[in-house]
């Protein structure tokens, strides 16, 4: 039995991502796989991807934990914090010590520190000059992300961008906006499906997501597809 190095596992991940992009795929599934890979393979405690809607408001589309507090903290970062900074500037924003972050980011800072996060690395999702969202990596230790991990994060962000935009040559801004909205809309349906399952199964919202995801995986279906069927009540998950 051979122990796989981290590099081997990274390579495998990119290979399977490339496979995914060739077939019909569910963009939320892809983004979920990306954030999970970030927390598995990189020196990262939690990760999340936020996309901008037509008005430029950033919304969480995938995160390693669906825990309300984590999602809320990322949204705070999207209002005043490294996330929106990276989105607006189109650059990587590294905050090696959240405790030392600017005063204007105090809401984000308090929420992050309270959850045990010490540093954050935000990478823009960019298509040429247009930034469509950000990938956020949170860690429970202070300091810069290791340079190799930074490179990998950059590559993950690019894969996410390509995955969201599906088509290689998108010239029209309208089409771009439409595809972004498509990804955000599937997120709406997923949230609604979580509510349905939380009620029908009597479980907390976070657990509801896990149930939906497990069902999607075991039936080889996309999360968005399963969510849509739960919401229109044509599918009831087994209890």
């Amino acid at each position: 039995m051979t122990e796989l190095t981290r590099e081997d596992r990274l390579l495998q991940t990119f290979a399977s991502l490339a496979d995914t992009l060739v077939d019909d795929y569910d963009v939320v599934d892809l983004l979920q796989m990306l954030v999970d890979t970030c927390s598995d393979l990189l020196d990262t405690t939690a990760a999340g991807i936020l996309l901008a809607d037509a008005t430029g408001t950033l919304d969480v589309v995938a995160s390693t934990s669906e825990a309300g507090r984590l999602v809320e903290m990322m949204q705070l970062s999207a209002e005043a914090g490294p996330c929106v900074e990276s989105f607006v500037t189109g650059r990587v924003v590294s905050v090696p010590d959240i405790g030392e972050s600017p005063e204007e980011w105090s809401l984000f800072r308090e929420s992050a520190l309270a959850q045990g996060f010490a540093s954050v690395h935000a990478v823009p999702l960019r298509l040429r000059e247009t930034t469509i969202g950000t990938l956020n990596l949170l860690r429970d230790t202070v300091g810069e992300l290791d340079p190799q991990d930074q490179t990998a994060a950059r590559a993950f962000a690019d894969v996410a961008t390509i995955g969201i935009l599906h088509e290689r040559s998108i010239r029209e801004t309208a089409l771009l906006a439409e595809q972004l909205q498509g990804a955000l809309n599937s997120r709406i349906v997923i949230e609604q499906a979580k509510g349905v399952v939380a009620h029908t199964h009597g479980v907390p919202i976070d657990e509801a997501f896990a149930l939906i995801r497990t069902y999607a995986r075991s039936h080889r279906l996309g999360i968005s597809q399963v969510a849509a069927r739960i919401v229109d009540r044509s599918l009831t998950l087994d209890t």
């Binding site: 999602v71 705070l76 709406i188 949230e191 509510g195 399952v197 939380a198 009620h199 009540r233």
Partner: protein, 235 residues
């Protein structure tokens, strides 16, 4: 038979922005002389939104002024009120209203509640000059048509007051609202759009933000349930 009903439902679905179109479909499907659509009570105030004729409008006005009558009962109970012989059997329940219409050219009167989920906001009133009864199928059809009108009325009212919908909240509160929408659609077996409308209307009625209502729903402090055919909210 069902063809006329389907056509009427279509017409109602499409009449969203124009209350003037609310009454006609009822007359096309049911053996009645006139129809009116009114909001009554605290949620949206008392106002006639649409009436097929003068008499229909006057019947509503009488009920507003007197504070009693079939539309108030439909609103209060959330159930249809069927009175095929309003003159022969003056109801003790509506002494003032019955007295007021004694000389009017009316034999039968019916009222169907305007409601979305647990929110009741008014009624569709129907009257007939000749005595007429609505059979169960007709009553069900009228109820279904009134439900469509109810959604339009609530949606319009909420748009008009620009109650803080999802625009004032941040992305996180929108997420909570989507989750709560899922809970409510499962509790009441509604479409996602209607479930969201219930949350929005409930927030409006309770002078709360949608986020607050969503949080109460997610924490189980506020429950909607179907109960004996009606819908209830329990806190």
């Amino acid at each position: 038979m069902s063809g006329a009903f389907a056509t009427a439902m279509d017409a109602l679905e499409r009449s969203g922005e124009t209350p003037a179109g609310f009454c006609r479909p009822f007359l096309d499907v049911l053996p009645v002389s006139g129809a009116s659509v009114s909001t009554v009570g605290e949620l949206l105030g008392s106002e006639t939104l649409s009436a097929s004729d003068e008499l229909a409008a006057r019947l509503d006005e009488l009920q507003f002024d007197l504070g009693e009558g079939p539309c108030w009962d439909a609103m209060a109970t959330g159930r249809p009120v069927l009175e095929p012989d309003v003159r022969g059997r003056p109801l003790a329940a509506w002494p003032a209203f019955s007295a007021a219409i004694i000389h009017a050219d009316i034999s039968s009167i019916f009222a169907f509640p305007l409601a979305v989920g647990p929110l009741r906001m008014g009624a569709v009133d129907l009257y007939s000059i000749a005595p007429v009864e609505l059979d169960r199928r007709q009553a069900r059809q009228a109820d279904a048509m009134a439900a469509v009108v109810g959604r339009h009325v609530l949606r319009q009212a909420l748009n008009a007051v620009e109650h803080d919908g999802d625009d004032t909240g941040n992305a996180y509160s929108r997420r909570l609202i989507h989750q709560a929408t899922g809970v409510v659609l499962a509790q009441l077996d509604l479409s996602a759009d209607d479930a969201r409308l219930v949350i929005q209307g409930y927030a409006f009625a309770a002078s709360q933000s949608m986020k607050e209502v969503a949080q109460d729903i997610l924490d189980g402090r506020l429950n909607f349930s179907r109960h004996n055919g009606g819908i209830e909210a329990s806190e």
